[in-house]
């Protein structure tokens, strides 16, 4: 498994290289001139020209790319045009809040998603199923800006239990993680339900019952692990999305994460920051995919990663 993982990680390098080209081109194709934005509306042409020279923006595109890649290989992500700080520092400082919020959100999402999914599959077409699936449909359909604002209104403004925003102690995580986790919980619930319902029709479930096992044991020992295989893929994907930072939730709760940094950098045409974020998100997805594949092998012995495979 270690050999397989190393192979996969080495395989990511060319992929990241391609992504860097696309990210670079994509970012430079966004209309708008960062030098003009930084200089302000009443700047002279001379001032704008100076800024362009300072950041190398006056050079031809290929030259800019070569410089960018040369720095990248030395571990230098460049300097922000807006704040003049190293991009690496900015990402590092934004990454931790997003990562911790992602974990908190995935905790809720998995807890509620799996619970609701299992209940509704086991109590198929009974009132429990209808109630939980109503919740799940609501979770998918309610926009997070509305849910976030409603939670703030109720729990922060009216009841005063949690802060309205910002990052602090554990209490500051509750509302943003619930807001962010609700949609993911709903998706996981629906996946778990349909997957478990399929598994419950399998012959080996009947074998379990024929052994005289109680229904709880049949589901717990024989159905769940098989049903988890598609759920793991989907949860991994959702985890990746959350790790890229949620622009809406971070904005509502003034959360100092990657999502807000991204939207601010795009508005300011802060090229080095946008490029670095794209690279980071790609790397995150690649690593999560690897993790999901390894988990697959753990869940399903048929696809264990043996040497050479």
């Amino acid at each position: 498994m270690l050999k397989y993982s190393i192979k996969r990680i080495l395989g990511m390098i060319p992929l990241l290289f391609v992504i860097s080209v696309i990210a670079f081109l994509f970012v430079h194709l966004i209309p708008g001139d960062p030098a003009r934005l930084i200089a302000g509306t009443d700047a002279t042409i001379e001032e704008i020209k100076n800024i362009r020279e300072k950041y190398g923006l006056d050079e031809p595109l290929y030259q800019q790319y070569v410089d960018y890649m040369a720095n990248l290989f030395q571990g230098d992500l460049g300097t922000s045009i807006v704040s003049a700080r190293p991009v690496m520092d900015m990402l590092a400082e934004r990454f931790v809040p997003t990562l911790s919020l992602t974990f908190a959100s995935m905790f809720w999402a998995l807890l509620f998603g799996l619970l609701i999914g299992v209940i509704s599959a086991v109590k198929r077409n009974k009132w429990q199923d209808h109630l939980t699936m109503f919740l799940a449909v609501s979770g998918v359909s309610i926009p997070s800006f509305w849910l976030g604002l409603m939670l703030i209104q109720l729990f922060s403004v009216q009841l005063g239990w949690f802060p309205t925003g910002g990052i602090g102690g554990i209490e500051s995580y509750i509302l943003p993680s619930l807001t962010l986790g609700a949609g993911v919980a709903a998706i996981i619930a629906r996946f778990t339900r349909s997957s478990l319902m399929d598994v419950l029709k399998e012959d080996y479930i009947r074998t379990g019952r024929a052994k005289g096992l109680a229904e709880f044991k049949v589901i717990n020992r024989h159905a769940l692990r098989n049903a988890m295989i598609p759920v793991v893929t989907m949860s991994g994907l959702q985890f990746g999305f959350l790790l890229s930072g949620s622009i809406i939730t971070e904005t509502i709760f003034s959360w100092p994460g990657l999502g807000r940094l991204l939207i601010n950098s795009i508005t300011a045409r802060d090229y080095p920051v946008i490029q670095a974020e794209i690279l980071l998100f790609s790397l995150e997805f690649l690593l999560i995919n690897l993790l999901v594949d390894l988990l697959y092998g753990f869940l399903n012995p048929k696809i264990r990663y043996e040497e050479g495979s």
Binding site: L200, E202, D203, Y204, R206, T207, G208, R209, A210, K211, G212, L213, A214, R221, H222, R225, N226, L299, N300, P301, K302
Partner: protein, 324 residues
């Protein structure tokens, strides 16, 4: 003869689909005595598997339900038992082998663990002891390198091996009754013969009663002491294997036997029974076989024949025996 281990009396099973009730089994009587192998034959759709699932009480989770009659296991009515009491019997005193060896084992759990689970569910025995017993059982059903197989996953075994594992699992608690629902249908002929041997040995050594469900008359002739022929949810004829094969009375049984190819026969076409088993909604009003029967006459369409002499359901035999 001793008391029957299983006695099915006037059992009705039907399926409720979209507000409609579809009868699958309509009033069957069948008994099994300890150490006896009874064959249940019939075409697809005759109600054989539904009968076996009814006895196992495995219809939960399907739209099917036993709606009438009794199923007595050692004189206790399975239909009046609580779930807990039924679970105590299932896998312990009554076990079942299914038609689908490829899919009946859990693909993500090692063989050993699946066997140990079946043993420890019903016996207070240490894990080590259960493992030992599991290896012994695998050995009994002719699995080579049983110790290693314990650590393997189902996908590493062939269909025949998996079916042996299923038999080992079903026999692991030394059941009094084994229900085998087409256990060899999915296997090739040589493997089939080996599996049948294993089951016969089990009967000889443990005195297990076996209800053997199949549509393969060759297997019935080889395995069974008695045979019950099912058609359209009813038993239309029953008797010893010798009686049924030598002197079939019901035209359906005759038709089934006639459709077996014979060595030395010069016929270019196999005989077959015309038509198909009618679906539950299309069953004729009188004798259910009337629309396919070569000997059909007026009375057959009007009234359903009872079981004459407790043996066969055909008006042609009314004169010989007395109606029960």
């Amino acid at each position: 003869m001793s008391n029957p281990i299983l006695s099915i009396n006037q059992m009705y099973t039907s399926f409720h689909v979209d507000g409609e009730t579809i009868p699958a089994v309509e009033g069957i009587d069948l008994s099994l005595y300890p150490g006896e192998i009874v064959g249940l034959v019939g075409e697809s759709g005759s109600g054989k598997s539904v009968t076996s699932l009814s006895v196992m009480q495995l219809l939960e989770g399907t739209p099917g339900k036993v709606t009438g009659g009794d199923i007595l296991f050692e004189n206790q009515n399975l239909l009046e038992m609580t779930d807990r009491e039924k679970r105590k019997l299932r896998g312990n005193d009554i076990s079942m082998i299914f038609q689908e060896p490829m899919t009946s084992l859990n693909p993500v759990i090692k063989i050993g663990k699946q066997l140990v689970e079946a043993i420890r569910e019903h016996q207070s025995i240490s894990k080590r002891g259960a493992e030992k017993h599991a290896v012994y059982m695998l050995d009994q059903v002719g699995i080579p390198r049983a110790e290693e197989i314990m650590k393997e996953y189902p996908h590493q075994l062939s269909g025949g091996m998996r079916q042996r594992v299923m038999i080992a699992m079903a026999m692991s608690c030394d059941p009094k009754l084994l229900i085998a629902d087409e256990p060899t249908t999915a296997l090739d002929v040589t493997i089939q013969a080996q599996i049948l041997d294993v089951m016969r040995n089990m009967r000889d050594e443990h005195h297990t009663a076996i209800l053997f469900i199949t549509h393969d008359l060759g297997v019935i002739a080889e395995m069974c002491d008695r045979v019950a022929v099912m058609y359209a949810g009813r038993i239309v004829e029953q008797g010893t294997v010798y009686e049924i094969f030598e002197n079939p009375k019901h035209p359906y049984t005759k038709g089934l036997l006639g459709s077996i190819p014979k060595i030395g026969s010069r016929a270019e076409r196999l005989d077959s029974i015309k038509g198909q088993v009618p679906t539950a909604e299309d069953r004729p009003k009188g004798c259910k076989f009337a629309n396919r029967c070569p000997f059909v006459y007026k009375h057959c369409w009007e009234e359903e024949p009872p079981l004459f002499d407790g043996e066969n359901r055909c008006w042609l035999h009314e004169q010989k025996g007395e109606s029960l």
